[in-house]
Amino acid sequence: MSQPTMPAPPAAAVGTRTLTYAEALNEALREEMRRDPRVFVMGEDVAVWGGGGIFGVTKGLVEEFGPQRVRDTPISEEAIAALAVGAAVAGARPVAEFMYVDFMGLAMEPIVNQAAKIRYMFGGKARVPVVFRAQEGAGRGNAAQHSQSLEAWFCHIPGLKVVTPSTPADAKGLLLSAIRDDNPVVFLEHKVLYATKGPVPAGDYVVPLGVARRAREGQHATFVGIHTMVHKALAAAEALAGEGIELEIIDPRTLVPFDLDAVIASVRKTGRLVVGHEAYERCGIGAEIIAQVAGAAFDALDAPPVRVCGRNVPVPYNARLEAAALPQAEDIAAAVRQVVA
């Protein structure tokens, strides 16, 4: 591994191409590794086997940057996380990949008790600029141990930032911000989104953490959701528009820090709030969002907020049952009709 040196100044963003979500992530890694020699990636099968992880996010990186900066690891999530934390404290900027978020339970000690606490416990003298990448979500029949959405675990821990991009552009822009952040960031991708395409600015395109995106403008109800729920809400909004209901869709993009102001501004306009995530409804981030809105903008609410979330059951592998356990566009539409009734 090369000695960390100072990064080059960012190049300007120029032009826009259509890329997949996975290609956009790959571009962010590649460009940032070119710019900043302190950045390296590590994880199971990120280098040699399969040519860049099971979804190809690190594809081609080992050829360009070599095995010192693109490192295959043993199958030990605790080791991946702990090594990344140590390297970050020592001055590197590691991007550690976990094959499935479901496996991160094995890595919670270094993430929760070390990465999230070190800067605080050393009085700000130590920094932990690490990114923990993983993919979550269901929709591929990967069964109960490979289909969960566990963002709420990390949102619960002070000291961790949590990022959940829903588009290729945001995937690139947010990953650049995550790598450049001096604090540990849990960067959660969605396995179904890897193949989705969208316009992505070329060059140094950065999306700041903590700034929501309005994915659709409407005045009758506000939907706040992440990952696939943004796309399902857009589909629901088309159906609702035919009924005269204009749905506003807010993609918070990062859950910690959370752009509460954007959500409240929308709810002040619409008076109605629906939140959605694939994660289990119970103690999900949706409950947190509703609680924050109710506390800060109680008098803006014209109807009780509604959650559209994953059922509180292990995610089934059978396609029909899996679909039934997940929140769908029709569920969002029904919830919106309920709050505007």
Binding site: G271, F298, D299, A300, L301, D302, A303, Q338, A341
Partner: protein
């Protein structure tokens, strides 16, 4: 130790209230927080919850009674609790001796101040936070609003509607056309109301909105909580027309009253009700409660809505007395000068749409009554007289009744008796 139930102050300007209905009769058990009685204030009709659990030991103010705020109106306790010394609205001064009126007033106020005991409606109105905030900023009394959201919740659009209604009321001059107002001056043949009445007073828009809210709630409650249906029958009014033509001028000369068909029909209904007590009843909890007295409400249309003043003991009143009472009540109703107790205690209601050429209709029960009579137009048409056709004056009566309280056959018999009386109207002259 029995708990005193006092009349709560439900609005800033409220000085007194009228008990419309005791929802728990004396002797029945009530749980804290259960609706105990219905009170009419200057603004609205509200249900008030019991302040304590126990048995309703004594009701101190009967239905229809109007008392000042903070007056004890009932006692809740356990059987055996003392029920004496409860009529005093204020406690005696500690020093004994004569009670200065001012001190009594202060004591009464203190009771009202310390006691949110009966006060419940304000905290129990189903309203969204957004609607409440908007109502506050727009100075709309939320108790007057009717919720159209899920489960009757008041939501933003209800407040917006009230604001719009108020704005519309503020910009429109008095005397804007409305069915009731335009109907007031009747052709002499169609309407008996040729006596000059005081001009209708323009009611402030917010009061109109209050009234609309009360009407909306009560009409919906009537249709949603009873099993009502309507029977119709045609009455040959030839004899009643003759009676009115012959007796009317006499009564006008001797008693100064102008007898209308409504007066005669109210009298006929009262006589028939005396004979058909099953109709003069109401559903109370789990059973039918027949009412010993006959008080007939007469629906009066106003520009802003509808009120139903009550002719008390109509079965014991003569045609002249009924006529005088109805004229007095309806004139004061149009001026919004009725007292709350003059609209309470009805056991049966008569409503007349004949002046609008309506033949028959389905009146909506005026709760808590079990029956209501709708009067159609008088008109001349061919009827069979033996094997010949003759032109007679006829009228259709529409009787709505609550099938929980009375079955179809007895309701039909009552209607049949009413028809008989109007076709043989000298029966109206019997005491």
């Amino acid at each position: 130790m029995a708990t005193e139930v006092v009349l709560p102050r439900l609005g800033l300007t409220q000085e007194e209230g009228t008990i419309l209905r005791w929802l728990k009769p004396e002797g029945s058990r009530v749980g804290k927080g259960e609706p105990l009685f219905e009170v009419m204030t200057d603004k609205a009709t509200l249900e008030v919850e019991a302040p304590a659990s126990g048995v309703v030991l004594k009701i101190l103010v009967a239905e229809g009674g109007t008392v000042p705020v903070a007056t004890p109106i009932a006692l809740i306790g356990e059987p055996g609790d003392a029920v004496t010394d409860v009529h005093a609205p204020a406690p005696p001064p500690p020093s004994g001796g004569p009670v200065p009126t001012e001190a009594a007033g202060v004591a009464g106020a203190a009771v009202a101040g310390e006691a949110p005991r009966g006060r419940a409606p304000e905290g129990r109105i189903r309203i969204s936070p957004r609607a409440r905030a908007m109502a506050e900023s727009q100075r709309i009394d939320v108790r007057t609003l009717v919720g159209t959201g899920p489960d009757g919740r008041i939501i933003e659009r209800d407040v917006q509607q009230a604001v719009a209604a108020r704005a519309a009321g503020a910009v429109q001059p008095a005397g804007v056309d409305s069915t009731a107002a335009s109907a007031a001056p009747q052709p002499a043949s169609a309407s008996p109301r040729t006596v000059s009445a005081p001009p209708p007073r323009q009611i402030p828009a917010h009061a109109a909105a209050h009234m609309r809210g009360i009407i909306a709630r009560r009409m919906l409650e009537s249709l949603q909580t009873t099993a009502q249906l309507t029977l119709t029958t045609e009455v040959d009014m030839e004899e009643t027309v003759r009676l009115r033509n012959e007796v009317g001028p006499e009564l006008e000369r001797r008693e100064g009253v102008h007898v209308t068909y409504t007066d005669l029909i109210v009298r006929a209904a009262a006589v028939a009700l005396r004979e058909h007590q099953a109709i003069n009843a109401r559903w109370e909890g789990e059973g039918v409660h027949r009412l010993p007295e006959i008080h007939i409400g007469v629906a009066v249309a106003l520009e802003e809505g509808l009120v139903v003043p009550v002719v008390r003991h109509a079965d014991r009143a003569s045609i002249a007395q009924i006529s005088a009472a109805i004229r007095d009540l309806s004139e004061r109703a149009r001026g919004m000068r009725l007292r709350p107790d003059e609209m309470a205690g009805h056991t049966f209601t008569v409503t007349n749409l004949g002046m609008f050429d309506v033949d028959a209709f389905t009146p909506v029960l005026n709760l808590p009554e079990a029956a209501m009579l709708g009067v159609g137009r008088l008109h001349r048409r061919p009827v069979a007289a033996g094997d010949r056709a003759e032109i007679h004056t006829t009228m259709v009566l529409s009787l709505t009744f609550d099938h929980r309280v009375v079955d179809g056959a007895p309701a039909a018999q009552f209607l049949q008796r009413l028809k008989h009386i109007l076709e043989h109207p000298y029966l109206l002259l019997l005491p």
